[in-house]
Every structure is written in structure tokens, then in C-alpha cells.
Symmetry: C2
Subunit: 467 residues, 2 copies
């Protein structure tokens, strides 16, 4: 099949599915929509890109693709880090970025209904204006979409206390692989009618259906008072000990983040942090209990930090001061990107294995002569080793890939999972194949085949498809 | 097929799957294991009952049944209220009640691993001894099993703040319909490798697999201080208003229960409550924030109760005093059972629809001349109308069934779901058929057929199987 002709014909055909101007096939557009933010994950060039504005338009395109043997790759903001939105052979990319309407904010029921293209932070601000809180806070919250968050079951910093995206999804509007529109889940606080298909779709990376609307649970905005506690540590091990002690003490912090010396130096060189001497890790904690309870908890965290060898411990309650203390966390990623393209790892190990996992990452970096910095949602055991490979240095990239694989192996050896919050996409398919039992992989295949017999939606992603 | 011969042959065959003494086929045993606690749900007599002691034994029995065209009905403690454990034609009941080992309590990772037959309260006590808390608290917590809780995604009183069973299930050991053993989920705090099959199995009522072990997340025991607030109300509407105001105020209570006048009178006649005059509803709230924060919240709840027309408002912090205030809640069900067999309804409506739903229940009771009392997890909108039909009064039972159907219809009209926490089983199949879109029912059928093509496991339960 000649792809030029096909693409041209296809644009004409798709014009029957969506209004003029919403089908893109020019070189720049198909290139722009050909992949997400995953370094190294393979991608092709889509036949066309559709900017859908309604669920019915998504359904029309999927129905067309299904009946013509084409594939559909759904896409939110393209901020994914595993290649879940990367284009595949013979695919139409359906972008939901124009579906940005917040359809309902219900203060009586503490829920909101929004289209899939709504930016996470836009929903957060809209519900905050009505005294409500949408907790899920992936690092990309200012640019990523609710649909993408749901499709990948995105995590974030507050997960350690408040859970992940899936914990807030009550219901979904979904376009199935044949183009049928269904509504899953509920609007009530509880409900067990039938299988939990909402949770099956959440995190399925668009392989079973395209999420076009989400109904999310909200919490009250009131009743919380943020307090930050930070401390610098002489070793990753001492920082890891502090994390373990916080967990064992019965304190559930609202955030507990770790930044290693590599990150700290990168930020320091860029912004001038005036770091204390001999620093190998920074821990940043938040507690959000109000009043004296919160103050006591913050003091206990500070004491644990100190007892574990932490120095330069500071506390803050003023939002601006908290922002200042969390500066290194916020700037770590851009500071590292100044050093070269960053491959973001995403492994999650039992909390008690965090120090050992950090040691193994250091060993792998040394052995393979690559630069690996670490940001970690330490309270969850969710580590993001950031592997930096200089542009054009083929040998360094090869060594970085070796380190990537070693880290995934080490995580599994320590009882961990190969992706804590970014998803399998394409990048973690080998890791998923190693992690999941054959019987469990077979369950995935059976479900995919039952719901998408033609393999229309996002084929080859999310779990190992080939034996 | 002659069932007597079949049963005898079967016992011999099953002796190859499990040790002697674990296969029951005497009349008393098969009768005892023929149904759960659902009044009115149909049941048959099982061919045999197996008291499994290991996952391997469950697998052997399922494998045998699958290859011989028999059905398997899994069963925990048989406390279900929807007929999910009721025997079906040509079935072996596999009881997990002997699988009572708590395999691990991990304080570092805040998780526990337990066999499916462990009683909810036994796990609660065991983890409490290590400073940890297992929140899910179905009313049956002293007699129901973790496996049954997971298979039905059981709710309870603390759900309004702490969520349902599924919110605590990290992983499962499952026997699939062909007898294969798989391990789903994870032991880490986060993880998104592949589909969320754990959530698919939770609440699937044994139709996709038999849960033999559960890995559950635990919370710290410390950091909470219970405070109870109760108030009597002159009408269901004023009590409903108080519930709505609590929700809108940004307070998330740890419990918010409603008991109507019918329940109150039943308890009063039995135990002598010395009720205030003109009382039509009792609200019982708990808050569990520690220290001054908790005291302030309890005072705010008391003020809301008072402003909504509540009288005789009391607060308590002493555990014994809290028990005394919650006496009517604890004794409501046994007090009603003294009046006749109780059919427990389980509908969940949007919180704001609770007063209207209570009105409709009252109307239906009056119209059909049946006695209906109400216990409600009011903070969740989850109502348990308790329909009492005198033994042997055929006409009254028929009217009670009419009322049952009317309540289910009313719940759907108000945007609710036909089962908030008890499950579909057999009893709510018509309601589920009315609630679920045809496309969603088709998804259920596709998944069931893909994972259990022979229809071995608990056929006909959990969702409408027939078009």
C-alpha cells in the first residue's frame, strides 16, 4: 500500500467523521504527533492525526479505522514517558487535547465530570474555586491531561498519603475498539454492580478503549495545613534510614521526596543552592494535618531526620517558604536536562529496599560509566533514576541502555515492579515480560482479544503481546 | 444423570484432589452449604462440598470440575446477602473457611498476606498487635472472611472516610477457571505493570477466579482518636439535611450512620432506649482526627446536628461511652430480626438524594402494607432498607417483593446504583440488567467468556448473563 496515496485518501474519508480542519496530514503535524516524551521508544509516522472535539467524533474515527483495518493511537498531551502514545504502523493518532470542557463540578456529591483533554491543573483550579480538591499530582500536572492521567493511572508526589489517579476515578466514558460508546462506573460514593471495568480501563493505556470523559471523586479543600520539613544527609543510606523510620513511626506524610547528590549538584551549578558540605541526599517531607497535630508531626519528622544523621534541617509553614524549600525538587529535572537528554526510569521497590536499590543504581552508573541522578518518591519506594546520555555519543547511549536494563533487573530482584507510575507503553515491555507470570500475561491477551479482536486500539502496548 | 450416583462417584473422585475428610456429601452438609444469607435468592443442592485447606487443593478441585463439565461455587463464611454463594445445578461448593492462616504481617511495608478464610476481625486484631490498622469493616466483620470480602468488594461503616475492601487489596492469589494458579497485583506501594487485574477480580463474586490469598495494605494504628456525636431528629428530612450539611462543610467523618424510627422502636421495645419524644431518626457520627482538631470537628458536627433540628445531642470520647451511643446501631438488625425474617436491601444514591430516597421507601412500605425499617451509611448515600415479612404469610411476602422491586427502581430513578456494597449475586440480577447499559453488559459477557469459556466458576452470578 502506498502510504502517500493512502494518507490522502484517508484525509478525505476522515472528513466524513470530523469537521474540516480537524484532520492533519502535513509533514510537520504527523511528525509532531508521532511520539510522546519517551526517549528511545520506537515510533512510526501516523497516516493522519485527528483532533477530536467530541466523544462522537472519536467513535466515528475508531469505527472507520476498525472497519478498514487501520489502528488508532489515542493521545492526550503527549507527556508520557513510556511510549504509550507513540505511533504504530498504519495508525491514525486521535488527539483528545481539544476536548477541554469541564462538564460538571458537583459540591453536593464531591465529584467533577470533565472531558479527557482537560489539563490536570485546570481541573484542580476549577474545583478549588468551589472549595474542593483534586489530589492526583503527577509531575506533569501543569501540562498533562486527565484522560492521559487515567489511561496511565498516573501517580505523583501526594500518592504516599492520597493515592494515585485511579483512586479518584469513579466513572468513564469510553469509546470501545469497534467505535461503540459506553459509560462505566458510577456517580455514587459506593457501588458494586458488575465487574469493576472502570479500574480495568484505568491504566490500560488506550489498548481496550479510548477514555473521552472522566468522573472523578474530590476531597474537601479545607482541613489541611501544609508543613514542610527538609534535611540534608551524608549518605543515601542515612536518608533511606530516615524514610524507613518515618514509615515505621506511623506517620503518613503528604509527601516524602528524595533528591540525590547528582541532582543537587546539577541544581546548585545552575541556581546556586549554597549546599552544606558533604551532602549526598536531600529529603523533603510534607505533613498536612492542621493545628497542633500537624506541628507535632512536623517536629517528629524533623527529629527522625536529625536522629538519622540529617543536617541543616528546616521547617516551613508559609507557602512561599515551602516553595523555597522544595525548589531543588522542582528544578531537578530541568537542571539535569541541561546536561543532556534524560531517560527517566520509573521503578518501585518495597520501601525498605530503597537504600539497597539506590546503591545498585550507583553501582550500575559506575560500572557503565554513565551519569545517573535520582529523584524518588521515597515514601512510596518509587524511584526515578534519570539516565543522562550525551547527544551523538553512540557508545554512551549503549552503556546507558545497559544501565537501564540492569536497574529494571535489580528492581525485580528486590521484589519491586518495573513501573511505579509511568506505565509499560513500549519501553517497559521487556521488564513487564520478566515481571508478570505467563498465566497473567495470558489473561491480558485473552482480555485484549475478547474486547479488541481486530487489534484496532494502540496495538502492542501495555503488556507483552507476543509469546 | 442420577444425582445420587453422581454424588457418590464424585466423592471418590474428589478424594484424589483433597485429603480424606475434606469432602462432604451427607444431607446435612450439602443443605448447610447450599446457600448464603440472602433471603429469597434461588439455590439448589450441591453435589458435594469441599473444605479446601490449600490453594493447590482448590486448583485440583476446579481443574477436575472444569474437565468434567461440573460447576464450582466458591464460598467464604456464607454471610453474603445477595446469593453469590448459592449453589447452582451440578456444582461443587468449595469452602475456603479452613484456609485461616495469616501468612505475613509486614510492618516495614505496611501490608499483610492472609489466606482467604481468615476472618476479617482476626486480621484486624493480629495487625493491631503490631501497631497497624486494617480499616474495611463490613457489618459482618466478626464472622465474614477476607476472601469473601474481596470477592464482593465489601463496604462497611468506615467507607465514608477510608474506602471499601478493594481500596486495600494490593494483590491476590487466584485459581482460574481451568485450575491454573496465578498471582495478581504487587507488594509495592505503587505499580502499573499491565492491566489492573486485581481490581477486576475484586468484586467479581468468584465468577472469574477463586481468591485463595489476599495481600492487603495497612494503615498505622496511631494518629487517630475516635469521637462520637449523636443526635435525634424530628424527621428523616431534617436528618438528611444534617448529613448533606456535614458533607458540604468539608468535614469527612469516619462514620455517619442513620437509623430510622422503625429501627429505633424495635430496639427500644427490646432493650429500652428511653427515646426522646417525637423522634424519627438518629444520626451517629464519628470523627477521628486527634487532639484539638478532632474536638473542633466534633463540635462542628454537633452544631450542624443542632442547626438541622437535632435534639438530645451527645458527644463521647471514651470508648465505652462511644459503644453506648452506638448501641442502637449495633442492635438494630437483631432487634428487627425478632419481628420476622429480614430481607436486607442495599441501594446507594447520590448523597443529596438520601432524604428523597427515604421518602420513597416510606411510601412503598405504606402502599404495600409491609414493614420497612432503615439503617443507612448516610454519609455514603448507601441505604439498607430492611424489609420484614412474617413467616408463612404468602401474601405479605409477595407485597414485600413488590416493595423490594419498587425500591430498586426508585434508586435508579434518583441516579443511584442497585447495590452499594453487597453485590449482585442472584438477587440483584434484574436490577443490574436495568442499571447497566447493554454495551457494558456485553463487556461483562465477553470477559467472562474469554476467561471462563466452559462456564465453570459460579455461573449466572454477578451480572446478567442471558440476553
Amino acid at each position: 500500500m502506498n502510504s502517500t496515496v493512502t494518507a490522502k485518501d484517508l484525509v478525505g474519508e476522515l472528513a466524513g467523521c470530523v469537521p474540516q480542519g480537524q484532520v492533519l496530514s502535513d509533514t510537520d503535524s504527523v511528525r509532531k504527533y508521532s511520539h510522546d516524551d519517551a526517549e528511545w521508544a520506537p515510533f512510526t509516522t501516523p497516516l493522519a492525526v485527528v483532533l477530536a472535539q467530541t466523544t462522537a467524533e472519536v467513535a466515528a474515527v475508531v469505527s472507520y479505522a476498525s472497519s478498514h483495518g487501520l489502528r488508532v493511537v489515542p493521545r492526550g498531551a503527549g507527556t508520557g514517558l513510556s511510549g504509550g502514545a507513540n505511533s504504530v504502523t498504519n495508525c491514525i493518532v486521535v488527539s483528545l487535547e481539544l476536548m477541554t470542557r469541564i462538564l460538571e463540578i458537583n459540591t453536593d456529591e464531591s465529584l467533577a465530570v470533565a472531558e479527557a483533554g482537560v489539563i490536570n491543573d485546570d481541573l484542580r483550579e476549577a474545583v478549588a474555586a468551589k472549595g474542593l480538591w483534586y489530589p492526583p499530582d503527577p509531575a506533569s500536572y501543569k501540562i498533562s491531561t486527565l484522560g492521559g492521567n487515567a489511561a496511565t493511572n498516573a501517580g505523583g508526589i501526594c500518592c504516599v498519603k492520597y493515592g494515585v489517579t485511579g483512586d479518584y476515578v469513579l466513572g468513564l466514558t469510553v469509546v470501545l475498539p469497534d467505535g461503540e460508546i459506553v459509560h462505566l462506573g458510577r456517580r455514587t460514593a459506593k457501588g458494586v454492580t458488575g465487574y469493576d471495568l472502570t479500574s480495568l480501563l484505568v491504566g490500560s493505556e488506550g489498548t481496550l478503549g479510548i477514555i473521552t470523559e472522566v468522573t472523578v471523586k474530590l476531597l474537601p479543600m479545607s482541613g489541611r495545613e501544609d508543613r514542610a520539613v527538609i534535611g540534608f544527609f551524608p549518605s543515601l543510606q542515612s536518608a533511606g534510614q530516615a524514610v524507613a523510620t518515618v514509615a515505621a513511626s506511623g506517620i503518613v506524610p503528604a509527601a516524602l521526596e528524595l533528591i540525590d547528590s547528582m541532582c543537587l549538584r546539577a541544581v546548585d551549578e545552575w541556581l546556586g543552592l549554597e549546599l552544606p558540605q558533604d551532602v549526598h541526599a536531600l529529603l523533603l517531607a510534607k505533613v498536612d494535618e492542621p493545628g497542633t497535630t500537624g506541628a507535632e508531626l512536623a517536629n517528629r519528622v524533623a527529629t527522625i531526620f536529625s536522629d538519622s544523621g540529617g543536617t541543616n534541617i528546616e521547617q516551613a509553614t508559609d507557602p512561599k517558604e515551602i516553595d523555597r524549600l522544595f525548589l531543588a525538587r522542582r528544578m531537578a529535572y530541568p537542571a539535569l536536562e541541561r546536561l543532556g537528554p534524560v531517560l527517566t526510569e520509573d521503578v518501585c521497590v518495597p520501601r525498605s529496599a530503597v537504600p539497597e536499590m539506590l546503591s545498585r543504581i550507583q553501582s550500575s552508573a559506575a560500572k557503565n560509566q554513565v551519569v545517573i541522578a535520582n529523584i524518588a518518591h521515597a515514601g512510596d519506594g518509587n524511584l526515578h533514576p534519570l539516565i543522562i546520555a550525551p547527544v551523538g555519543d553512540v557508545a554512551a547511549v549503549a552503556r546507558a541502555k545497559t544501565a537501564f536494563d540492569e536497574i529494571v533487573d535489580a528492581c525485580r530482584e528486590l521484589g519491586g515492579t518495573v513501573t511505579g507510575e509511568h506505565g509499560v507503553g513500549l519501553l517497559k515491555l521487556p521488564g513487564a515480560a520478566a515481571e508478570l507470570e505467563q498465566g497473567v500475561i495470558n489473561l491480558h491477551r485473552s482480555i485484549k482479544k475478547a474486547l479488541d479482536p481486530r487489534g484496532t486500539l494502540n496495538p502492542g502496548k501495555a503488556f507483552p503481546h507476543q509469546p
